[in-house]
């Protein structure tokens, strides 16, 4: 479907002003006036309150788990939701980032949290390289070859790491990871709130980038209609390169954060690719907030199921079943019935 090219208006002033913040808040408030949104919101809040009363632990753990899912899904939301490129090697890039942090720590004693910064730069360059070698040649062609290509790139990354580091599972022994706090009789880990913070930073950063910068607006235009964007004078190739590299940089930098807490092995990225894709599909293509919301709901639900001893092992099934149902409901259906 062709969208008129006129919709692309570059923001004249890219600085962030107080007035913009007010308009942002207003637009959020106006959403509450829509009936469906309000009902959904109330149900979610009510569910969270119920959970908080029933199992307070679940609330915190669920929040942390949701934040991790959202964090990993956001770079994919940027790439898939905004400029419509499917990268099935998503989780593998995170895995490589985690290994990077691991070896930096083992070799040079660098703290994984500090390793985020060099990872950001290195993976940006890595992203550019990968883009030029592979994805550049396939954008705009049939989406199936994109899927296969991502699958192949992921395989190369996972197996490359296996050649270098074998598939022996590794874990960093960091003491601050197990720090915890106790409020009124129950204990929860505090370190994991770093995921919540990172999610908020990336979400706000990406929103500002997309809404307030010329480049961000151009990216939105390219996502809606690459040909139209080209006609109005946007350098489409450059936008693809930039967004791809940015997405890889972000997911690569999330790797070290992931590696602080979790055991890593070459196949660890797999399931996160799947979960991220699903969150993007559920949250709505092109909506970063939607992805975070979807992560919140699913993270909470999964934690709740996991917390039950009897049914805990079925958590994955619930995740996938819920999601397949939701994807069907959201009708990403073929045009022809």
């Amino acid at each position: 479907m062709l969208i008129p090219c006129g919709q692309y208006k570059p923001a004249r002033n890219s600085s962030i002003r107080f007035r913009d913040l007010i308009t942002m808040i207003n637009s959020i408030l106006s959403k509450f006036k829509q009936k469906n949104f309000l009902i959904g919101f109330i149900i979610i809040i009510a569910a969270i309150i119920l959970v908080a009363i029933y199992k307070p632990n679940v609330l915190f753990e669920g929040l942390q788990r949701s934040a991790l899912y959202a964090l990993i899904a956001l770079p994919m939301a940027l790439l898939l939701g905004i400029v419509d490129i499917v990268n099935l090697a998503h989780g593998e890039f995170m895995m490589v980032g985690a290994y990077f942090a691991y070896f930096m720590n083992v070799q040079f004693g660098m703290d994984p949290i500090v390793a985020v910064i060099p990872a950001l730069f290195l993976f940006f360059l890595f992203g550019i390289l990968v883009y030029y070698i592979t994805f550049k040649h396939i954008i705009g062609k049939e989406p199936l070859s994109q899927l296969l290509l991502g699958f192949g790139v992921g395989l190369v990354l996972a197996e490359g790491i296996t050649v270098i580091a074998t598939n022996f599972p590794r874990k960093l022994g960091l003491d601050y990871v197990s720090s915890s706090a106790t409020i009124g009789g129950f204990t929860f880990g505090t370190f994991e709130f770093v995921y919540v913070a990172a999610t908020i930073i990336i979400l706000v950063g990406l929103q500002l980038f997309l809404k307030k910068t010329d480049t961000g607006q151009a990216a939105l235009a390219v996502g809606q209609n690459p040909r139209g964007a080209k006609i109005v004078g946007i350098n489409v190739q450059w936008i693809y390169l930039l967004i791809f590299a940015l997405s890889i940089a972000l997911i690569g930098a999330i790797g070290p954060l992931f590696g602080t807490r979790y055991t890593i092995f070459p196949g660890v990225g797999d399931q996160y690719t799947l979960k991220s894709f699903i969150l993007v599909a559920v949250g709505g293509m092109g909506s970063l907030n939607g992805v975070v919301l979807a992560a919140l709901i699913l993270g909470m639900a999964e934690t709740l199921v996991l917390s039950s001893l009897q049914y805990g092992k079925w958590a994955d099934i619930i995740y996938f079943a819920l999601i397949i149902g939701f994807i069907l409901y959201r009708s990403h259906q073929r045009q022809v019935k």
Binding site: M1, Q335, V336, K337
Partner: protein, 240 residues
């Protein structure tokens, strides 16, 4: 006899109203032209009647049968066939195989029978060298092949969506003759067109769409002198 009748057909895409309350009738064995400026809903109309969209509201009757909620292939089986505005050959198949798809699935012929009928259609439309791949065909040939693919489903009603677009003067003349030839075999045709000369040469009745509404309808002479049509669409091109 009326074979196609739309009553109050409306199609919305989100907030955009692409068609609103369109009432059109097509009689057997006539050629109806649908004209209108860009974005007036001509192609949407084709897509609602013959293609992939379901109307938001309204009713479509074909040969006395309600086909409003029918899926695309069911509409094809009911006897409506169409060509596309942009050329859409099936590149994995060669010329005659493209046509055979219509004969096999539109009419349910066996492979052998479909090949025979497709070969006949090729002869009828002056398509030669039928085993060529798509890459070795000219634009005119591809367009003719697409018409043949539509005809192979043995429709009662044929939609031709801007079939002259991108053809030069001689090719347009040839295409007009082709359409006449098809019509002379007793086919009912709805032709959506930009080129007024084609409409004048071919159609007995014209429907003018503007902003998704029927502006007026009648013979070419009547429509082309209508002041509203002139301002909406024809501009200075009108030759009364």
């Amino acid at each position: 006899m009326t074979i196609l009748k739309t009553t109050g057909v409306t199609k919305q895409f989100g907030g955009l109203v692409a068609l609103s309350d369109v009432n059109v009738e097509v009689n057997e064995n006539e050629i109806v032209g649908i004209i209108g400026p860009n974005g007036s809903g001509k192609s949407t109309f084709t897509n609602v009647v013959a293609g992939v969209y379901l109307p938001t509201s309204g009713k479509i009757e074909f040969c006395g049968q309600d086909i409003t909620q029918k899926t695309t292939h069911e509409k094809c089986h009911a006897g409506i066939s169409r060509t596309f505005q942009l050329m859409r050959p099936l590149i994995g198949l060669n010329m005659i195989q493209n046509i055979m798809v219509g004969a096999m699935f539109g009419k349910g012929h066996s492979l052998k029978e479909a090949r025979k009928r497709s070969a006949e259609l090729c002869k009828f439309l002056d398509l030669e060298n039928v085993e060529r791949p798509i890459s070795a065909m000219t634009a005119l040939e591809i367009k003719k092949m697409e018409i043949a693919r539509a005809l192979a489903t043995e429709p009662k009603l044929l939609f031709l969506d801007e079939v002259m677009a991108g053809l030069n003067k001689d090719e347009t003349m040839e295409m007009i003759n082709t359409v006449r030839k098809i019509h002379s075999r007793g086919m009912t045709i709805v032709i959506i067109e930009h080129v007024m000369r084609v409409i004048r040469e071919l159609t007995q009745r014209v429907v003018v769409l503007e902003w998704g509404k029927v502006l007026c309808e009648g013979t070419y002479e009547k429509v082309s002198c209508d002041q509203r049509v002139i301002t909406a669409y024809l501009g200075e091109e009108a030759e009364c």
